[in-house]
């Protein structure tokens, strides 16, 4: 290493260091450059497409189970029973947001657009149970029992009406068939996750 190179080395080190320090100093004295968001006090505006927690509008939901099928991590579970008017009634609809990876496939799959991403993202918890969102607030067993009762009632009514019409038609006919047992019939239209 010649002396010239040696001195050049030192020169270069000093020059590049000064260059770098000028940049850091420029940031240091310019408070406008601060980009930190003071989170709990300041919040950023959640964009329209933000994929936050899922929300299911159970009034619109048809319990078609598309979301359950499309979910890659099986975080949605639902159970529905066929109600008296042949429509599905949700017994429960749970989303485990501890498992959800917010991919949004379920929202895209939802045919009636009842499932949506909200802008929510704050739900720290020390209990995993709290991370399961329940969208049907009643007890599942109660709903099932109620629906079964309604179905049975409807069936009985239908049978009665049928019997009445039949009786009017053919009074001599054999006695009307018994109302079918409520439970197995309801179970037929039941979807389980």
């Amino acid at each position: 290493m010649g002396l010239k190179e040696y001195l050049n080395d030192i020169m270069e080190a000093v020059v590049t260091t000064v260059k770098g320090m000028r940049i850091t100093a420029a940031y240091g004295v310019d408070p406008k450059e601060e980009v930190t968001l003071q989170y709990p006090e300041e919040r950023w505006e959640v964009p329209e497409r933000f994929r936050g927690f899922l929300h299911n509008d159970i009034k619109v939901c048809t319990s078609c189970t598309m979301c359950v099928k499309v979910c890659p991590v099986d975080c949605i579970s639902l159970e529905a029973v066929r109600g008296a008017d042949k429509k599905m009634v949700l017994a429960f609809y749970d989303i485990n947001i501890g498992r959800c990876m917010y991919c949004g496939l379920c929202v895209e799959a939802c045919p009636v657009k009842s499932l949506k991403h909200t802008g929510g993202y704050e739900r720290a918890s020390v209990d995993r149970g709290e991370l399961i969102l329940h969208f049907v607030h009643e007890d599942a067993a109660e709903i099932k029992a109620r629906v079964a009762r309604q179905v049975a009632e409807a069936a009985a009514k239908a049978a009665e009406a049928q019997a009445a019409s039949r009786a009017a038609e053919a009074p001599a006919a054999a006695k009307s068939p018994e109302a079918p047992p409520a439970d197995p019939k309801a179970a037929k239209g039941e979807h389980r996750e």
Partner: protein, 379 residues
């Protein structure tokens, strides 16, 4: 170090085996390197991978083609867009789906933006590894703006899940393209600032120049791809050499290492390739923004998507090298077999060879210059 005693026999000090990782700040995740050192000089560095193995390929065989999309986010979480698009392109190639041009443009835009943000992390964490913490935060600051853009277009900041088989999940929202342009205008001068701040800093150059030199033949022989291969001076870029999507429409340069501060193929070259590639990506995005056509963003794909039986291999240029997706279909809704080739994993093969005789601090530099990411290695 060997010295000679008075009787002329070699005097050897003891070697020390050190366990670097899986919890070590500079292994970029959960890489474990078993170092055998002689003082500070590393005589052997054996990488031990697999701490992050999640069986992504097997998962891919158990879920449908569409359902695998969010898992590709986890393949390389710093370049999730690129992985999303790679998967979409692979399946489209398998099922021969025509994708609307606007969707392809959007894919290229987000993929290149993601390349910028991924290289920013590579640059930032590399400088942090070298002891300069400030550039890391500058890089993060710029990356946040890219994330803002991504959040706008797909709703998430890390796991984007934006591409779909046959298109993308949503058209660019109003204002997105303008904001992207704004970001490019903001970002481009920053690259010069990085160069002034650190790239050509004497200490930084000295830390990187001539460290872990990989000659071109060797890089090719080991199957390295991406910036690491280009750092050795091999001008190979899938976007140019095996063009896919709408890349042929863009004019960009393939950045290669020049050996400007040391031997060709050293850590500094690999580092500079990334810095220069950010510029090229900016160029591509600018052209894409200028050329993007109107139209739909989603092709007609049946809801229950079953590609015809067959197999395909699709490779795309991801920030960490070639991501190759080999997918075999048996005509059902799930892939029959899925194999993913990732740049980081292949790069790791040469690690033991190039780290021989380096110092412990250089190991950190080599890991940083390879810009490995562990989910890609372990999958």
């Amino acid at each position: 170090m060997t010295g000679m005693t008075a009787r002329g026999e070699a005097l050897r000090t003891q070697e020390m085996t050190i366990n670097m990782g899986p919890q070590h700040p500079s292994t970029h995740g959960v890489l474990r390197v078993i170092l055998t050192t002689d003082g500070e000089v590393v005589t052997r560095a054996v990488p031990d991978v697999g701490y992050l193995h999640r069986g992504l390929e097997k998962i891919g065989e158990r879920v449908t083609y569409a359902q695998f999309m969010p898992f590709t986010d986890r393949l390389d979480y710093l370049a999730a867009m690129n992985c999303n698009c790679a998967w979409a392109w692979a399946v489209e190639k398998l099922a021969k789906i025509e994708v609307p041009e606007r969707a392809e443009f959007l894919r290229v835009i987000v993929a290149e933006l993601n390349r910028i943000s991924s290289h920013l992390i590579a640059f930032g964490s590399f400088t942090a590894d070298m002891g300069a913490f400030t550039p890391f935060l500058y890089a993060i600051r710029e990356r946040e703006r890219v994330n803002d853009l991504f959040e706008m277009i797909c709703g998430n900041r890390l796991t984007y899940n934006y591409a779909r088989i046959g298109g993308v999940s949503g058209d660019a929202p109003p204002g997105f393209l303008e904001k992207t342009k704004e970001f490019l205008d903001y970002f481009e001068p920053k690259i010069d600032e990085y160069n002034n701040l650190i790239s050509y800093n004497k200490i930084f150059v000295h830390r990187l120049a001539n460290v872990a030199v990989i000659p071109a033949e060797e890089a090719v022989a080991y199957g390295m791809t991406g910036p690491n291969l280009r750092g050795s001076g091999v001008p190979f870029d899938l976007r140019r050499d095996e063009p896919y999507s709408v890349y042929p429409k863009f004019d960009f340069k393939v950045c290669v290492g020049t050996g400007e501060r040391g031997k060709l193929g050293d850590c500094f070259d690999r580092y500079m390739v990334r810095i220069n590639e950010m510029r090229e990506s900016v160029k591509i995005v600018r052209q894409a923004l200028a050329q993007i056509p109107e139209g739909p963003v989603m092709a007609k794909v049946p809801r229950v998507f079953k590609p015809p039986a067959g197999e395909t291999y699709f490779r795309s240029e991801c920030p960490r090298g070639e991501t190759g997706i080999y997918v075999v279909s048996d005509g059902s809704a799930n892939p029959f077999r899925l194999k993913i080739r990732t740049g980081s994993f292949v790069t790791m093969n040469i690690f033991e060879k190039v780290t021989k005789g380096l110092m412990i601090a250089d190991i950190v530099a080599v890991i940083g210059s390879f810009d490995i990411i562990l989910p890609e290695i372990d999958r």
